[in-house]
Amino acid sequence: MNGLVLDGLAVGHRRGRRRPAAAVLAGVDARAGAGELTVLVGPNGTGKSTLLHTVAGLLPPLAGTVRVDGADVAELPPAERARRVAVVLTERVEPGLLAVEELVALGRHPHTGPTGALGAADRAAVAAAIEAAGAGHLAGRRVVELSDGERQRVLTARALAQEPAVLLLDEPTAFLDVSSRVTLLDVLRGLAREAGLCVLVSTHDLEPALRLADHAWLLDRTGRLRAGPPEQLVADGAVAEVFDAPGLAFDPAAGTFVLRGDGGGPPVAVVAPEPEKALVARLLAREGCAVAGELAQDVAATVTLTGPGRFAVSADGGGNGRAVELAGWSELAAWARRAGVAP
C-alpha cells in the first residue's frame, strides 16, 4: 500500500530499562496517502511531536508498526529509512558557514558514497529540490544570512533532496510570519500533488490547514486520533469537540472560529453586499448584537451600507423614521456597543 500506514501504534518515551515506558498515545490507526497533504492537528501536549518523531523513525514505537510503502520503518537500516522518509523538525539548525546549496546537498547523504561527493544525478536532485521548495532565488547565499521563512524553505529543500516517499514536517510554521505560513502550506500541497509525495505536516494553524489539506489526523486530549478528510471531521463535530472554547465556536460554514454570541442583544438586519455584509455581521456579533437576515421582520435596527465606510442606521424597519449617519467603522462599533447594552 502506498504512503504511510500506522497500525496499532503506541508512542512514548522509554525511561531506561527498568521503568515502564510512558505511553503518550496508544492504539493509533491512521493512513496518509501518496500525493496527498495530510495535516496532524490537535491541542498542545497531546503528543503530536512524539507521534511525528516515531513515524520518522527517530523514536522507537512502544507497540504497533509504522509502514512506508509496505516496509516497517523501525526495522529498516538507517540509510534505507533515510531514502524513504525525510523529516524537517522544529529544532533550530546552526548551519555554520554552509551555503544554501551545501545544506541542501546534505540531504543526499543516503545516496552518496563514503566521502559524500556529489555525482551528476545528485547535483540534479539538489537543483530540483531547491526549485520545488521555491528557494531558487536564494541560491548562492549563506544560510545563516537568511530569514526564518527562507531558511524553512531551504530545510524543506534539503528534505526533498533525499528523494523520499514520505515527507514529514513538525510545526514548520512555528517561527514564520503569516504570509510565510500560508505560502508554505501551499508549497507543500503543490509538492504532494506534483511529486506524488506523501506529505504529513503537524501544525497549529488550524484554519489554513483544514482548508488546504486533503486529509487530516485530529488528536484530542484523551489520546484518540480521528482521521479523515477535513470536511468530514468538521461535519462530524469532531473539530468542534476538540477545539471549541467557552467563548469561541468553530463555524463549519465559515471555516473559522467565531464568537459565541449571547444572542441576547436586539436583532439587527444588515443591508449590504458581500464582503461588507459579513464584516458588519462580525462587528455586530462582537458587540453582542444578534444578526438577522435582510428581510427579517421584528428587527430592532437596520444597518445599511451607503458608501465606502459609511453606514445609515435606522430603527424600526427602516421605512420611516430617523436614520443616523455613521461615518467609519469605529463609529459603527461605538453605536453597536450602545445598542447592544440598551434593552
Binding site: L89, G107, V144
Partner: protein, 340 residues
C-alpha cells in the same frame, strides 16, 4: 584549490626554516647537503641538522596536524567552538600515566630520587602516557554508551578529566617533591628529543588517526544539521561518537604521549582554518586544518629556538601566546560569522 596549495607551500617553507634556522648558524649549503644525505663540510653540522633540528621539525608537523584535526573533530561533535581535544580527558589520562610511572620509578628505583622519568627512559614515559590516555578514553567511551546527548558526553569527559587531574595532584603530593618537579617539566610540552624510533611510531599512530578522521568526514558534515536531523538523514550517531573518540585517542593521545600536553593548538587552529577557507564542509576543512596545524606548530617551534639567541622558550608558552589572542578574536567576531 588555491588555499590548499598555498598552505602546502607554507608548510614546506616553514619546515625548511625550522631545519635551517636555530641558535647555531649552519651554512645553508651544509644544510642542503645534510638533508640530501651527503656529508657536510663539518661533521658537527650533520648532528645539529640531523639529530636536533630535523626530528624537531618532523615532530612539529605531526603534532600540529594531529592536534588540530582532533580539535576540529571535537568542536563539530560537541557543537562547541571552545572544545579542544583534551576535553575528553586525554591529557589528564596521559598525565596520570606519567605521574604514576614517576612515583613508581622513584619508589621502586629505591636509591636515587631524581630517578623516575629519567630512569625509565623516554620509552617508559611514552608508554605510561599512552596507557593513561587510553584508559581514560576507554572509560569515556564506556560511559558514552549510556549517555543520550552530546552535551552530557561533553560534561562527562570534562568531569573524568577533572577527577584524573585531582588523582594526579594527590599522587604528586605524596611523592618526592623532585618527582613533582619532573612532572611539571613534562607538562611544559615539547617537540624536542624524539628519536628515529619515536618518530616512526608517532607517524604511524597519527596516520591511523587521520585515516579514521577521513572516514568520519561525511557523517560529520551531516551533524552540522543537529543530531536529530543527522539521524533522520541516516547518520549512525552512536557510532560516530565512538569513531570520534577513537580518532581523538589516536591523534591527541599519541601526540601527548610523546610530547606532553601542547596547549591551544587543538582549540585555535580549526578556527584559523575556517577563516582561511570560509566553509564548514569537513572534506575541505580537515585537510586544511591539518596543514594549518603543522604550519602553526612549526612556527612556534622556530620561535621557541630563536636564531642567534641561546635561550629556549618552552613550547606551551609560545602556543599560548599565539593561541589565546586567536580564541579571543574568534569570540569577539562570533556575531559576524558562525562558529562551526
Amino acid at each position: 584549490m588555491k588555499p590548499l596549495a598555498a598552505l602546502v607551500a607554507a608548510v614546506l617553507v616553514l619546515f625548511v626554516a625550522a631545519v635551517a634556522l636555530g641558535p647555531v648558524g649552519v651554512p645553508p649549503l651544509d644544510t642542503v647537503r645534510v638533508l640530501a644525505g651527503l656529508a657536510p663540510s663539518d661533521p658537527r653540522w650533520g648532528v645539529v641538522i640531523g639529530t636536533v633540528r630535523l626530528p624537531r621539525a618532523l615532530t612539529a608537523v605531526l603534532a600540529g596536524a594531529a592536534l588540530a584535526v582532533a580539535g576540529a573533530l571535537v568542536q563539530t561533535l560537541f557543537r562547541n567552538p571552545l572544545a579542544d581535544p583534551y576535553v575528553l580527558g586525554v591529557s589528564s589520562g596521559a598525565g596520570l600515566g606519567v605521574a604514576l610511572s614517576l612515583a613508581a620509578g622513584g619508589a621502586a628505583g629505591g636509591a636515587v630520587f631524581a630517578d623516575g622519568l629519567v630512569g625509565l627512559g623516554r620509552l617508559g614515559a611514552v608508554g605510561a602516557a599512552a596507557l593513561g590516555a587510553a584508559a581514560v578514553l576507554a572509560l569515556v567511551l564506556v560511559l558514552a554508551r549510556w549517555v543520550r546527548s552530546m552535551v552530557t558526553l561533553l560534561v562527562v569527559g570534562v568531569m573524568v578529566g577533572a577527577v584524573t587531574t585531582a588523582v594526579v595532584s594527590l599522587v604528586l603530593v605524596w611523592s618526592d617533591p623532585r618527582i613533582a618537579q619532573q612532572y611539571v617539566v613534562w607538562g611544559l610540552g615539547s617537540v624536542d628529543g624524539t628519536s628515529r624510533g619515536d618518530l616512526v611510531v608517532l607517524a604511524a599512530v597519527v596516520a591511523c588517526g587521520l585515516v579514521v578522521s577521513g572516514l568520519l568526514v561525511k557523517p560529520l558534515n551531516a551533524l552540522l544539521l543537529g543530531e536529530a536531523h543527522a539521524r533522520s538523514v541516516g547518520v549512525p550517531v552512536r557510532r560516530l561518537r565512538a569513531g570520534v573518540v577513537v580518532a581523538v585517542a589516536l591523534l591527541a593521545g599519541g601526540v601527548t604521549a610523546f610530547c606532553g600536553p601542547i596547549a591551544f593548538v587543538g582549540i585555535a587552529v580549526p578556527h584559523l582554518a575556517r577563516l582561511l577557507v570560509d566553509t564548514s564542509d569537513h572534506r575541505v576543512l580537515l585537510p586544511v586544518t591539518a596543514l594549518t596545524g603543522a604550519a602553526v606548530v612549526l612556527a612556534c617551534a622556530i620561535a621557541g629556538h630563536p636564531p642567534g639567541a641561546g635561550t629556549v622558550v618552552p613550547l606551551n608558552v609560545v602556543t599560548s601566546l599565539v593561541g589565546a589572542p586567536v580564541v579571543i578574536a574568534v569570540l569577539l567576531r562570533s556575531r559576524r560569522f558562525a562558529l562551526t
